[in-house]
Symmetry: C2
Subunit: 358 residues, 2 copies
């Protein structure tokens, strides 16, 4: 598989170890600090260590899960870096999913005003989503990614063998971003994507590659999210709010599961506000529902969800901002939907869920 070369770093795919060892030898790093959680420590770290020529490692472990993507965990990471006397010539290696990548990248970018870091994404979600874009950060006051910076890693290494350590549920969560990339920018890919039913049997590399190309095209056009890049937000205005809400319950959703709900609601908005055809609305809804099942969104939390959406970073001048598709494969940014329309979209989602579960 080809590598992907972006403006100031590269994404190495598949057979990554030779490139990785070249990278660290050229870097002359004083130390490699690897950030892991209890899962990647067990399932991924041994592989990384075995395949690396560098010997001077420092391991920092944090608890897994979005609920730990907080300032308190950053404090643990910064303190660990300081206690180990990590200097500015060190390299931080983020070995994990989106939480590790976003938070580890943020900590590296702010420790002593910034040390080098690389991403070793171990989940499908992180491989297709977090590899491009330079978005780093943490959740704050229940708002996702509300504190952070834009900064690119020195390199990304996508080793698909790590995907074998994932549960079916995690795989499905990551697949949501692949679906999104096809819906906003690649009709042919959507045709291939929607034919997938057995995720465990899928050869992911070619889907990851196509998906990264979509994201690359959009991000290079608009690195700081001033305009076009908001296209990537499809499904995320509603999805992030739903994710934040469920995070506080006893049955939190994975990111992609929340985004799948968001994509159904926002496909409805695409139909209502941007004239997406009924046929395409049904096509997207039914594929997402059969894959993600249907967790209802309780009516009594609609107001809270609207409040969370109002706090989304991408809003300007106090309006709630959406990226909508019309037709499948093309996207329109800076679409406004009012409260009534958003509530309708959530009702639509709940009705569809009811229809398949009754």
């Amino acid at each position: 598989m080809q590598n992907i070369y972006l403006q100031d770093y590269s994404i190495f795919l598949d057979d990554v170890w030779e490139e990785w060892n070249n990278f660290i030898q050229k870097g002359h790093y004083s130390k490699l600090v690897v950030l892991v959680d209890e899962n990647t420590k067990t399932y991924c770290l041994p592989l990384l260590l075995k395949n690396s020529v560098h010997q001077n490692w420092q391991v920092i472990e944090i608890p897994s899960g979005e609920q730990h993507k907080t300032l308190s965990t950053c404090e643990l990471i910064w303190a660990a870096l300081m206690d180990a006397d990590i200097d500015r010539k060190a390299l931080m290696v983020n070995l994990g999913g989106g939480v590790i990548g976003d938070m580890g990248g943020f900590c590296a970018s702010t420790y002593k005003r910034g040390i080098d870091f690389v991403q070793f994404p171990t989940t499908l979600l992180a491989q297709v989503d977090a590899s491009i874009g330079g978005k780093l950060g943490i959740d704050f006051h229940k708002v996702k990614n509300s504190i952070g910076v834009f900064k690119n890693p020195k390199a990304v290494f996508i080793f698909t063998d790590f995907l074998q350590t994932l549960s079916a549920r995690e795989l499905r969560s990551g697949f949501a971003e692949i679906i999104k990339h096809s819906l906003i920018a690649d009709t042919a890919e959507w045709e291939r994507v929607k034919s997938i039913s057995l995720l465990e049997k899928t050869d992911w590399m070619k889907f990851i590659y196509s998906s990264l190309l979509v994201k690359q095209r959009i991000v290079e056009f608009d690195p700081f999210e001033k305009g076009l890049r908001k296209a990537l937000n499809f499904g995320h205005t509603v999805g992030h709010a739903v994710e934040s809400y469920f995070l506080e319950t006893n049955s939190p959703l994975l990111h992609g599961e929340a985004i799948a709900i968001g994509m159904i609601a926002e496909t409805y908005l695409s139909h209502r506000q941007a004239e997406l055809s009924t046929k395409q609305l049904q096509e997207v809804t039914s594929y997402l529902l059969q894959l993600y099942g249907g967790v209802p969104v309780p009516t009594h939390v609609y107001e809270d969800l609207l409040g969370l959406m109002a706090k989304d970073k991408k809003n300007e001048y106090q309006q709630i901002n959406f990226s909508l598709i019309q037709p499948i494969g093309s996207v329109h940014v800076n679409k406004i939907a009012d409260k009534q329309a958003i509530i309708e979209s959530l009702n639509y989602y709940n009705q569809m869920v009811k229809a398949i579960t009754d």
Copy 2:
């Protein structure tokens, strides 16, 4: 007075209001968020508001002082931004000394992954030091500026009338950076600087301007502190450690007061390690001592100070790094001094203090 044009922003000097109003009108900001402490709120904010055409202000107040340059204060600032629904089109206006500028800039750079900010430095120290260099951050685990980012403001406005609100002690603290800039890079300026004895009667604008030119020259050559920029660290390896130590006592020192101690110790090291002449050592020592008096550094804290110095960001490969002068007006970076030499330099400082106070 001329303005100073840097790579991606400008510093406006003296008669700043017209430039300021042009700036905000061009920016089309959704809101101006001004960060103040109890002092600048009383003495500087009314002037800023009176002279601004923009009407949509949000004021955030934090307590003054280096002891509040912490992550907890950042949390207050981020929460205030979030509670006021500040969006990415807002401008943050940091109205205060170094703490406000460094911490406000850091919070702006990380809120929603970065909003625009400008600096209105109100102290002499901030006007000559924090206006150039893009260094933002906070203290963490007792190590100064150990968490932060490099990011330039959109503009800096230096209004010297604000200096009239300063105490003699604060003025003297800021003057230390002017002294430093002359010692490392401008012999002729050092001759002018050392003739100053009555700080209150000084016309600061020309000294600020010369001092900024020195800093500009160095920073533009090395924006991310990879090499030459460490020149600016003269006096700061020892000075920062001394400042951190006194911060925990009942009689904390102002930044410039600690840097004055650091400059005496490091001028001694310049003599010992880099062959600065005895005459120049005496010249620097006696000027700094007569101006800053002499607070002794207790012998029993030497070990703690060495520990703090070992944690300085600019160290690499676990050695303590100094920037030394030889002769006055030129500087040498990446000089190493061992523990024994550093202790000698502190002893030298204490002996000189004893000589003038006995």
